[in-house]
């Protein structure tokens, strides 16, 4: 398998073409949006809670296949988990799921959705923003 085929493997293209959890939640409990200024990826995430549990999560966005596919995978991964669990979720957990080799630039694409989700949880539940989150200063925290 060539490097390219492994990067754009079928599951990535599938999530890009048929994103899971794509859409809006009317009157969400928390939401956040963020951009990756390197390639102009945009992701907005809305969250609904049942107590501390994420009962529903949806995203909207536009950008490269890596950013949108990784956010789509993230939606599948976090539904039903608590805000605390997701706030402490490591980037590697998502990257394992994405499962492709990424250069530092493309890493920012893949991790955009996770960063935005953590900002939303921070705004909704006061969970900590991870210090190691490299893209934090690029995100809209207002």
């Amino acid at each position: 398998m060539s490097e390219l085929d492994s990067l754009y493997r079928e599951v990535i293209l599938d999530h890009f073409k048929n994103p899971r959890g794509h859409g809006v939640i009317a009157d969400p409990d928390a939401q956040a949006e963020g951009q990756n200024p390197l390639c102009g990826d945009e992701v907005a995430i809305m969250v609904e809670f049942d107590g501390d549990t994420i009962s529903d999560v949806k995203f909207q966005g536009r950008g490269c296949a890596i950013s949108q596919a990784a956010t789509s995978m993230l939606m599948d991964m976090v539904k039903g988990r608590t805000a605390d669990e997701v706030a402490s979720m490591s980037r590697d957990e998502l990257l394992d799921e994405v499962g492709i080799p990424l250069t530092p630039v493309r890493l920012k694409c893949a991790l955009l959705g996770l960063g935005v989700l953590k900002v939303a949880l921070h705004k909704g539940k006061g969970t900590p923003l991870p210090e190691e989150w490299a893209g934090l200063d690029e995100l809209d925290l207002r």
Partner: protein
């Protein structure tokens, strides 16, 4: 597609030119490098690398205040580079040439040095929607700091300035400064700078021209442009990084405050007050990019030796060829004007494939293109896209490299279908 439409005319044989550039001896992903990103930075010929190495090995010392032989030689080399640069841009005097870190530093020097002193409430500072952020953000910021208004000349659907909107944008305000690029870094559009400069001067404004994308590709004549300030950067003209040029009309430079303060830029320092050195030294605080100036001079000699007219012709043939080949790719949309009104820069979008994915897919074949907003967010907003893929050409570009790009684009379309 492998039909080669571009034939080398007398004056520029791109294949021979490439032999001067060591980078092309190194394959990328097992393929010969097709470097289509010269608008971001040009590759370096051996002549530039040798000049810098030779300078470091035989003539290096800090400049200006040393009285020993080596310091004299280094100072001579640095000031000779200033004279080479003067000739390259056809400036009236070498004292009008300020060496800076890059074009961003050149533009910031004017924004802070001239703008802070001269802008105020009721004034208008005018840029264009196609400016690189380096010729946009400093003006927007300094206008804000001084209470002046800031506006941008709009761009039309073809990626050209809407000159018919000039008076509407002005809206009766006092025009203090016009900041305009000579060539769009995203679209390659060549702007009518002399015409704009005349208009701005009629309104009493100072004119600042970003020539970063013009200097590498066509003869730059600061007097013909009719501007008051012109900036360009060394690394896009085959020179080293870390050096740029600010040309300013002597009478304007003489009235301009320094932006960076420190060593060398002073005449006399006491606890009570400091007075400034003469131009251009007033604007060159601290140890200068000495070897970089030597490298820049070698680069300017190199491109002048090949001939700016020959480079311009080579690139316009490549651009025409590229626009023709790209038009054949299904789902591809090229931004910007026709080949005769642009330099060798082509931005496009491929339906259904994000520019970053396009760039990554063609990279696997050794084709280097840039993807993103190209530091042109207001222009991207006007074009209605978040980003584009950009291919840019220079004196070493071959038509078959454009073929390889097109093959990669077809592959990307197939992958994302």
């Amino acid at each position: 597609m492998s039909e080669v439409a571009v034939t080398a005319k007398p004056g520029l044989d791109a294949r021979r030119v490439r032999a001067d550039f060591p980078i092309f001896e190194h394959p990328v992903h097992g393929r010969p490098l097709a470097y289509l990103d010269s608008a971001a930075s040009a590759q370096k010929p051996r002549q530039v690398l040798d000049a810098m190495r030779d300078f470091y090995e035989t003539s290096y010392a800090n400049i200006h205040r040393g009285v020993y032989e080596l310091a004299e030689r280094a100072t001579d080399a640095y000031e000779a580079a200033r004279e080479t640069t003067r000739a390259f841009v056809n400036a009236p005097a070498a004292r009008e040439i300020v060496f800076t870190r890059n074009v961003t530093a050149a533009l910031n020097a004017v924004a802070y040095g001239w703008g802070l002193d001269n802008f105020g409430p009721g004034d208008l500072v005018l840029a264009t929607e196609m400016e690189h952020h380096s010729n946009f953000v400093p003006w927007q910021y300094v206008a804000g700091r001084t209470g002046a208004d800031f506006a941008a000349i709009p761009v039309d659907g073809a990626g050209e300035l809407r000159l018919e909107d000039l008076e509407r944008v002005l809206a009766g305000r006092r025009l203090k400064l016009l900041a305009c690029t000579a060539v769009s870094n995203s679209l390659g559009t060549i702007n009518p700078v002399p015409q704009l400069a005349d208009w701005a001067h009629e309104h009493g404004a100072v004119v600042v021209v970003d020539a970063a994308q013009a200097a590498p590709h066509r003869r730059l004549d600061v007097q013909a442009l009719g501007a008051d300030f012109v900036g360009f950067t060394g690394h896009k003209v085959c020179g080293p990084t870390g050096i740029g040029v600010l040309w300013g009309r002597a009478d304007v430079l003489e009235r301009m405050s320094p932006f960076e303060l420190g060593g060398h830029m002073i005449r006399k320092v006491t606890v009570e007050r400091t007075t400034w050195n003469e131009i251009p030294h007033r604007f060159e605080a601290g140890t200068a990019p000495i070897a970089e100036a030597v490298g820049l001079a070698a680069a300017l000699d190199y491109v002048s030796g090949i001939g700016l007219e020959a480079i311009e012709r080579h690139e316009s043939e490549l651009t025409e060829y590229a626009l023709g080949q790209l038009a054949e790719v299904e789902g591809l949309r090229v931004f910007g004007p026709p080949a005769d009104r642009r330099v060798g820069i082509v931005s496009f979008e491929l339906e259904g494939v994000h520019p970053h994915d396009v760039a990554q897919i063609v990279d696997a074949e050794g084709v280097a293109v840039r993807a993103g907003h190209h530091c042109n967010q207001p222009l991207m907003a006007r074009l209605g896209v978040a980003a584009t893929t950009r291919a840019s050409f220079y004196l070493y570009t071959l038509p078959e490299e454009i073929d390889r790009l097109v093959e990669g684009l077809v592959r990307a379309r197939t992958l994302f279908r």
